[in-house]
Structure formats: structure tokens, C-alpha cells
Symmetry: C2
Subunit: 351 residues, 2 copies
């Protein structure tokens, strides 16, 4: 068999990913902690301490003093676990979860895994409509979820209004800020624990937070919510485990702490403005060329570029994704620079 | 806040972990692929190719030509997914899973997550008893699991006999070889796809396989079994996802391939013999000192050292775990050398 001698991942033409190049300090921390396992905190005590620090810092980012939570494998695990908390907490044999149709596909995965009914509400103007969501909730609703930075358009649902819908039926309220969470603190949006009665939240250091994969985040307003996940752990020195996985990546945990220490808040603020400027620049360039563009609300641009043209761009090496409606979708991550976008637009003009 | 400037993890006194220091080639590959995501295979194509290679190699290790499977976050995800395959495939509203009581705690986690009933069978002489297991299965049994290398004692269940129990009620049969899978090929045990009608298997490169965390493995006899897990994925270029997590670690995948390329089969064979010799040496030393020792079947030693003495050893810096029955448990991983064990026994003698 061939040897593994790859070039490092090249992000020069990646416009499709919600991950990015880790910050240099994050990379260094990941490499140092590669051989640790926060899933076994008594054996790997140093990384267990770092995980507590990571959760504390995520609380600072999301307006939650004394946060409960842990560093997940990513946003999917965090969303599954939020649904699991709500299902386990509720007293119903027929639990349902209400999400906007633009919720991440991990909610569909969660519904299959956890055996809950998923009720989906179509949006208005790319955002969840609280009235439509309110029609779907009932006494068996265990969780209502809103998205702060949707995967397809980067839009922010009306979080305070959705929290009211959730609590009107005594359901928990979850915010999926997996992607948006490190851009939103520098915007005017109302999205976090300090803005509304949010119970649980997904926020991923390994996306805009610039940590190395795998470093997602699940936060909960109180430790009692996390306790809904607890499973006994014989043969570990610790006695309970709330995570979905067992062995976990110390590299991800250490990397998340290192990235947040390096970038919170000023580095993230500068990145937000750079990325937002890039998104607005790209939107304007595309509009000038006659494309319909969804006005960017966070650094993500969707435009009705034809499928044939998207295929041509892919053949030229651009990694670009499409929305379900078939629009071109460009995610302005930290590695996406203005010069990359100029080069992308030049290739678009070439066809 | 303090900066992240840790020393690398020190394994000199770690006798409790089922993870180990990654092989140097595995570490190098992990560092190179730190910024990749096999969960988005169209964007990160190189690591997606490596994942196919990893699964192919795991098939070679486990006697399965043309394996289906993927690189999981670890053994817990693989065990959960095996239960999920079986639950989704079966046609019952009241699914149950039959495992030996010494099954890993991830089966209890799977039961909670997936809403299946867990039926547990006490072992005879540290191994699952097929007759006891057979009494527990019925028409609603979707999965029977056996363990090849138990977490507490390193023992191997009678895999061919348990496969018959499973198939007598048309349930799937799963083997958890998360820890044992890279030791067992060099033993006389009958444990894999080539020895019995195994449907799915957990085998973790990041344990005895000497890959970096996170690199677990789920294997299935046919792609149709994996299809039970498929969820649609809009906005990725790929269209379906069978994994439990979304974004995944390319570092783990690349590291698994690098470790297996470096070590399969001769390096692993040598390691098996070194670790087995160490376990037998430690067992003999402990027996000489009057302790009751469970005869090691794979490189794992359990002995009735008192809880007070285990506490003393922990205070001297040894990371040691206990079985549920309270025995001292020493896992002879690749980083555990004879000189470490001599030093451990010397400390034991000191008290």
C-alpha cells in the first residue's frame, strides 16, 4: 500500500466548508494534546482542566455565567444531545420537537436516533416564523429549536420570540449557533442566553472559532439539564459520563481553549468585520452581474448562479456548495480572503 | 487567563488507559490532516480517499473482504451505531438488545439514546454464557452482542456460539473488539468475520492500533446494513450521511491509515507478544506476592489488591483503575513497558 505523504489541506479554493484553518496557537495546542482523552478525566487530568476552561469561555461568549456543558465532537452531537436532554426530561411517551425547516440536518438525525417526532415550520423571509412555530407545539413538545446563523443563508431566527413559544408549552428552548456563535457577538442580533430564556445552545469552536476539529460545544443553563444525559461509568475513576461519545479528543479541547485565548474578543471582532465586508463585497459583485442575491445577514452569500455554471467552477477547482433551492452558496470563513473572492469572481466572468 | 503551554502527555505511569501514545507515523499524519473533515467528502477529497483505505485495512484485520464501514469517533459511537442499525432494520415496536453484563457501558448509553431495552446476561468464568444469552432472546431481540477483549478482564466471549444465538431469532450479531481487535489476530481466539457469522463489529485504531484519537471503527458485513443509518444531507455535495457525528476528524482517519500501514501485521504481532509477555510477567509477580490474579487471556491483568493500596499507588502518581468488583486493573498497552511494570511492582512492595 502507498505511504501517507499528503500535502497539507489547501484552503485556497474552499468556499463550501463551515470549517477553516485552525489558528496557529490552536494547531500547536492540538498537536501537544494529541495523545490525551478528556473522556477519562482522572487519567488525563490536565486536559480535563482545560475542558472546564473551554466551557467557561464559551459561557462568556454566549452571555451565560456559570455555564454547564462540554466540548462535543461537533454541532451534530450537540444538537442530538440537546434533543436527548429534552426528551429525557419530559414526561411523555410521544415526544415531538419543533424546528424550522431550515434547521440543520442533524435534527433529522437526532429524530431518527432518539425516536422523537420532528415537526418542521417553514420560514418567512429566511427566518423562523414564531406564529407558524406556535401552531405546531403542543403538550408533547419537548423542545423548540431556533437557529442563529442558518447553514444555508446565515440568517438569524427571532430567538426571544421562539423562546416564548417553547416555554408556553413548558418545552425546552435550544439555539443552534454552531456556525454563527463566534460571529454573532459583534452583530446587533439577539441570540444568546443573555438575550432570551435559552436553555441549551450549540456553538462550535472548530467552525468560526478557529479551533481544530473536533471541537464543538454544548452549553446548558444549569447542570441539572446535563444530568439528564448521565450514564454510569464503571472502570473509569470518574463515575458518570454525559457525553455521547466515550473516548474524546484532547486535541480538540486544548485547541478550543488556545483559539479562544488568542482571539476573544478582539481577534474574533476583527474577523467578523473582515468576513462581513467580504460577504457584502461578493454580494454586490454578484448583483452587478445580474444575479439574484440573498442579502447577507452574517458572512454567507447565496445567489441564483446556474447549476451548470457551478459545475464549471467546480471543475476549475472551486469547492462550492448549493442550497436546497439550487442557489450557489459561499461561506465566508476566516480563510476566505478578498483576493480569493476576486479570483473566484474572475473565474465566474470567464464563463 | 493563562496561556496553554502544557508538557506533552506523560504516559510513564499510565496503567489505566485503553488509549496509548500514537505511533510516530500516526502522529505525523494526524498533524498533516488536522484541518480536514471527512464528514464533507466532496470538499475534503483526499481524506475521504484515506477513509476508504482505512476501512479496507480494517477489513483485512478482521477477516472481512469488501467491508462496509467508517472511521468513528471511537468505540462508543460504533457500538451505538450497531444498535441503531439493528433497531432500524427490525420490525418491532419494542426492540431489545442482549449483551453480557460485562459489555462496555456504551451499550447502556446506546439503550438510553436509542430507546431500546437492554437485557444483560451474567458471565461464566468471565465469558458470556451462550445458554444464558439464549434464554434472554425473543422475537423482539434486534441485536445480540459479544465482546472480544472485555474492558475489565480482557476476556473473549465465545463468538461463534453467540452468533448462533443471535441468528436463531433473526437478530443481528455484533462483536465489540474495540480494544482487543489489534491484539486478537495474533492469538488463537475465534472472534472475527472469518470465524463466525458476525454482522457488525467495533474495532478502534486509536486503542491498540496506535492511531491518534479520534479514530474508532465500525465495520458491517454489507453496505445495506450501513444504509439503515442514512440521513439526507442537503448543502453538502454528497447526498447521504451514515455517521452519528457530522463534521469529523481527518486527523483521526489519516492517523489510522498511517498506523496500520506502519504496523500491520508484523509491528502489531511483535506488540502483541511484548504486551502479552508483560501481562504474564506482572500476573506472576503479583501471584508470588500472594494476590489473587485473574489469569490474563489478552494483555490485561486484574488482581485483588486492596482499595487502600490502590489509593497509595495513585498518590505515588500511578494512574490505575479498578474493576467493578474492586480489583486492581492494569491494561498492558503498547506504552506499558517491562521497566514501567518493574517500577510499579517496586512501589507496590514499598507499602
Amino acid at each position: 500500500m502507498q505511504r501517507v505523504e499528503p500535502a497539507p489541506q489547501d484552503f485556497d479554493r474552499v468556499l463550501s466548508s463551515m470549517c477553516t484553518e485552525p489558528h496557529p496557537m490552536a494547531r500547536q495546542a492540538a498537536e501537544r494534546f494529541l495523545a490525551t482523552n478528556p473522556g477519562d478525566p482522572a487519567t488525563y487530568q490536565e486536559v480535563a482542566d482545560l475542558e472546564r476552561e473551554a466551557v467557561e469561555m464559551l459561557g462568556t461568549v454566549t452571555g451565560l455565567p456559570d455555564p454547564a456543558g462540554y466540548v462535543t465532537s461537533g454541532g451534530t452531537e450537540a444538537n442530538i444531545q440537546a434533543v436527548r436532554i429534552a426528551r429525557n426530561r419530559a414526561d411523555t411517551d410521544d415526544p415531538n420537537v419543533v424546528v424550522p425547516t431550515h434547521g440543520h440536518f442533524s435534527f433529522w438525525k437526532a429524530a431518527d436516533v432518539l425516536g422523537v417526532e420532528l415537526r418542521t415550520a417553514p420560514p418567512s423571509d429566511y427566518r423562523a416564523d414564531p406564529d407558524v412555530m406556535a401552531e405546531l407545539v403542543d403538550a408533547d413538545t419537548v423542545l423548540v429549536a431556533g437557529v442563529a446563523g442558518t447553514t444555508e443563508y446565515g440568517y438569524v431566527d427571532p430567538i426571544p420570540e421562539l423562546a416564548e413559544v417553547a416555554h408556553s408549552v413548558d418545552a425546552l428552548f435550544h439555539v443552534d449557533a454552531a456556525w454563527g456563535g463566534f460571529y454573532l457577538p459583534f452583530s446587533d442580533h439577539r441570540w444568546h442566553f443573555g438575550h432570551a430564556a435559552v436553555d441549551t445552545m450549540t456553538i462550535d469552536p472548530h467552525k468560526v472559532g478557529q479551533a481544530a476539529v473536533p471541537a464543538g460545544g454544548l452549553l446548558a443553563r444549569s447542570p441539572e439539564l446535563l444530568d439528564e444525559l448521565a450514564i454510569d461509568t464503571p472502570y473509569l475513576e470518574s463515575t458518570k459520563q454525559v457525553t455521547l461519545t466515550g473516548t474524546r479528543s484532547g486535541a480538540g479541547v486544548a485547541s478550543a481553549v488556545a483559539a479562544m485565548e488568542a482571539l476573544w474578543p478582539e481577534g474574533y471582532r476583527e474577523q467578523y468585520h473582515r468576513s462581513m465586508d467580504n460577504a457584502e463585497w461578493l454580494a454586490a459583485e454578484l448583483r452587478e452581474r445580474g444575479y439574484d442575491v440573498v442579502e447577507p445577514e452574517l458572512p454567507l452569500v447565496a445567489a441564483d448562479v446556474s447549476v451548470a455554471l457551478v459545475e464549471e467552477l467546480r471543475e476549475r477547482g472551486w469547492r462550492v456548495a448549493k442550497t436546497e433551492a439550487g442557489e450557489l452558496r459561499v461561506v465566508c470563513m476566516p480563510h476566505v480572503t478578498r483576493s480569493m473572492l476576486r479570483s473566484f469572481v474572475a473565474d465566474l466572468d470567464w464563463y
